[in-house]
């Protein structure tokens, strides 16, 4: 699909706005529908669009398999880490109020970080799964 100028131009125009929209959904999830799960899928969709139009090789150059795997792990660790920090501050596991001491700010910060962790994990898992499926034959032949 690289040869077709329509696909190429549309993919280039849409790539950044899709990621913008994903970030909006991620960080505005407290006030409107959205959150880490949806944002993760939307951001992954931007990268998948790029990989479909410009080829898998180009997609893997943007996000390498190693970076992807680390992001996957980091997302889960961020989520668990928030729980551990709240324990270290004297609360229960994942008790965000203990993070700052006040209910409103503590819960806000905790939910933001936790959703970020979810978003990172979902983005990188979806992207890794797509790359694995799309490159199945080439990877096996290597």
């Amino acid at each position: 699909m690289k040869q077709n100028p329509v696909f190429r131009v549309v993919a280039k125009i849409l790539f950044a706005p899709i990621i913008m929209f994903g970030l909006y959904v991620q960080f505005h999830g407290d006030y409107s529908p959205g959150g880490g799960f949806q944002a993760g899928v939307i951001i992954a969709a931007a990268f998948i669009l790029h990989a479909i139009v410009f080829g898998l090789q180009a997609g893997r150059e943007i996000v390498s398999a190693r970076v992807n795997l680390w992001m996957m792990v980091f997302g889960v660790l961020l989520y668990g880490g928030v729980g551990v920090v709240s324990m270290a501050k004297g609360g229960l596991f994942l008790d965000y109020t203990a993070l700052t001491g006040s209910v409103a700010t503590g819960q806000h910060i905790g939910i933001l970080l936790v959703e970020l962790g979810v978003g990172l994990t979902v983005t990188s898992v979806m992207l890794a799964v797509f790359h694995a499926f799309a490159g199945f034959v080439e990877d096996r032949a290597k």
């Binding site: 999830g29 407290d30 969709a45 998948i48 409103a104 959703e115 890794a128 694995a132």
Partner: protein, 207 residues
């Protein structure tokens, strides 16, 4: 009233798509229809006030899931072969189970009943506290990340583990595949060869 009409129309559409999925043999058509199925159910979720769920279903079910199925279709035959004649047996099981479930419908709370048990347990507390104590308007986010944080942590780990499983199965990083590469053999089924290679030795040692 209009909401009920939309609900009925979309649900009938959903059943029609499901029946089409049963009857179609071309897998590409089936996959596109399952994407349409997801999108229709997302519309139903909006109608039933579940905007977050609709958002997720539209992005995941109609988007990513369809793409993954299509990516797999590159490697497998495009048409379903005429299958074993199990339709009668399957139909019998499904109609029987469906009839039993229909009997149970009588015990369910009627649709939209505000006094049903579902709405009396913890939901009123979530709705009351989310605004007054947490100052977060989207109650779904609050419940997801805060009240049921453990739940979501578990779900995230499930997604993570499933991703790892796919990578292990496909990306050629399994031990059997590496061993096969090392020995220079291009095996189609690395596992079974390795098992057959290892088994005789170990049984021999035991004796």
């Amino acid at each position: 009233m209009i909401s009920l009409f939309v609900d009925v129309f979309l649900l009938v559409l959903l059943v029609l798509i499901a029946v089409m999925v049963v009857r179609t043999c071309n897998l590409y058509a089936v996959i596109v229809m399952s994407g349409a199925y997801s999108l229709t159910s997302a519309a139903i979720f909006v109608n039933l006030d579940a905007v977050d769920v609709a958002f997720t279903e539209a992005a995941v079910g109609a988007g990513i899931s369809t793409i993954l199925f299509l990516a797999v279709m590159a490697y497998v035959p495009a048409d379903e072969k005429p299958s074993l004649n199990r339709n009668v047996l399957a139909g019998f099981i499904c109609i029987g189970a469906g009839a039993l479930l229909l009997l149970a419908v009588a015990d369910l709370p009627s649709f939209g009943d505000p006094m049903s048990q579902v709405h009396q347990h913890v939901a009123p507390r979530y709705l009351a506290e989310s605004g007054s104590a947490l100052h977060i308007p989207n109650v779904v986010t609050t419940v997801l990340a805060s009240y049921r944080g453990f739940d979501t942590l578990g779900e995230t780990i499930v997604v993570f583990t499933a991703g790892l499983g796919v990578l292990m199965l496909l990306a050629g990083t399994t031990r059997t595949h590496r061993m096969a590469k090392k020995t220079g053999k291009k095996t189609a089924s690395g596992v079974s060869k390795r098992v057959s290679k290892v088994l005789p030795k170990s049984t021999g040692k035991k004796v």
